[in-house]
Amino acid sequence: MENLLDLNFLIESFPAIISRLPVTIGIAVGSLLLSLVIGVAAALIKIYKVPVLRVITSIYISFIRGTPLLVQIYLVFYGIPKIIYFLQSEYGWLQSADVNSIAPEFYALMAFSINLGAYLSETIRSAIESVDRGQFEAAKAIGMTPVQMMLKIVFPQALTVAIPNLGNMFISTIKDTSLVFIIGVIDIMGQAKILGSRGLAFFEVYIAVSIVYWILCIAVERLLVKIEKRARRYERGIA
């Protein structure tokens, strides 16, 4: 009798898939952090209308939004080595970098940071712009420098506003990292593919890996609710 599923194979594939979870989480969290830096920089460039950079930023955001993530991953994967090689041979820069020894995880991290940074920048910009003008004025009036004003007053308030959006984008990124196997990263998806072809049981491993993604995303969602609650504690008025 033909079974719909090889349940044993499915269950046995979990440990191997889960063992690659740090790769998936690492790329997602790493690119979240890097993209926050990119996103804040891009947002500030737009808010302060910095000449030249502002145009570059607009083109960057428009390009990222207008091209598929998959294509962007390939561009980074094939482009960065070429650029490094070019800089080495033309200018003698980056001599210590060995293009052949760069791990595919690095390219994945770069591609996702660049991608997410563009999307975050709009969220961050509107969050910063949502901070009451009076907060800026009070900070200036006591003599804070723009950097102090941003770090102590504006960013904390903007971040609180942005958390739900940032969270949704982070969850999307976790799921999108399933694309990284195409450049040779063995994340949970890559591992599932390997197991699947070994046992010729693709349906089973994809069920297993989808369950892992699902649980991961539920856990992150729960965590986000807690983080948001904590960040918003100062907004609670007189009960």
């Binding site: 006591i142 609670r236 007189i238």
Partner: protein, 245 residues
């Protein structure tokens, strides 16, 4: 001492301050009166460069800043020499009451956290709020928030305090506690500029009253002079029943 010389402010082509000249002695309390749109807030905000004057000179405690050549450093110096109390309080929402008062001490005056907290608590005692140190602004009444605003401004020991309608956003029953706090600060000999619509309070607290209209000071004098025998008809109209009252 504060000195304003030929202060002009344009918003695009709108001429909002038309050459303000003013000298205020140390310890003087100046009430700024005038109809809506006459430029009172703009004048106050030009003193600490929250609005950059189009031209003119602001001098506080011997430091002269010419709007035409003002450098960032000079503007920071003016801002540390002044404290501002806002109509909407503008307390830092993400900081506790104590942090609101101490953040300027640690970040602007580079004080150690312990010393800043100590001074912050002292300031909050002066405005009667030392029991609310770890509350957030959203947990305070408007009157309490404004008193924290006053403590925040006082903490940096400014040469002059600038009040822009400090009681205009308050429910009527909360006005008195804030006025009482301002009165106590005035009694310590602080130099103060107060833009207010509370005429009787202005009369009681100020050494000098300035009456503005359409970007110019059209009359000034002691509270007694302005409120009993204003020289300019427009001032008399504006003060209305408060004259002689």
């Amino acid at each position: 001492m504060i000195k304003l010389e030929k202060l002009h402010k344009y918003y695009d082509r709108q001429h909002v301050l038309k050459g303000i000249d003013l000298t205020v002695e140390k310890g003087e309390v100046v009430a700024v009166l005038g109809p809506s749109g006459s430029g009172k807030s703009t004048l106050l905000r030009c003193i600490n460069f929250l609005e950059e004057p189009t031209s003119g000179i602001v001098e506080i405690g011997g430091k002269r800043v010419d709007a035409a050549t003002a450098k960032k450093k000079e503007i920071f110096a003016l801002r540390t020499a002044t404290g501002m109390v806002f109509q909407q309080y503008n307390l830092f929402k993400n900081l506790t009451v104590l942090q609101n008062v101490s953040v300027g001490l640690t970040s602007v005056k580079r004080m150690k956290k312990d010393a800043a907290d100590k001074k912050g608590i002292e300031m909050l005692e002066q405005v009667g709020l030392s029991s609310k140190l770890s509350h957030y602004p959203a947990q305070l009444s408007g009157g309490q928030q404004q008193r924290v605003g006053i403590a925040r401004a006082l903490a940096l020991d400014p040469e002059v305090l600038l009040f822009d309608e400090p009681t205009s956003s308050l429910d009527p029953e909360l006005v008195d506690e804030v006025l009482a706090t301002i009165r106590r600060v005035a009694d310590t000999g602080k130099t103060m500029f107060i833009v207010t619509h509370e005429l009787s309070f202005a009369r009681e607290i100020s050494d000098r009253v300035i009456f503005m209209e359409d970007g110019v000071i059209i009359e000034q004098g002691t509270a007694e002079q302005i409120f009993t025998k204003p020289a300019v008809e427009r001032t008399r109209q504006f003060l209305g029943k408060a004259v002689q009252g």
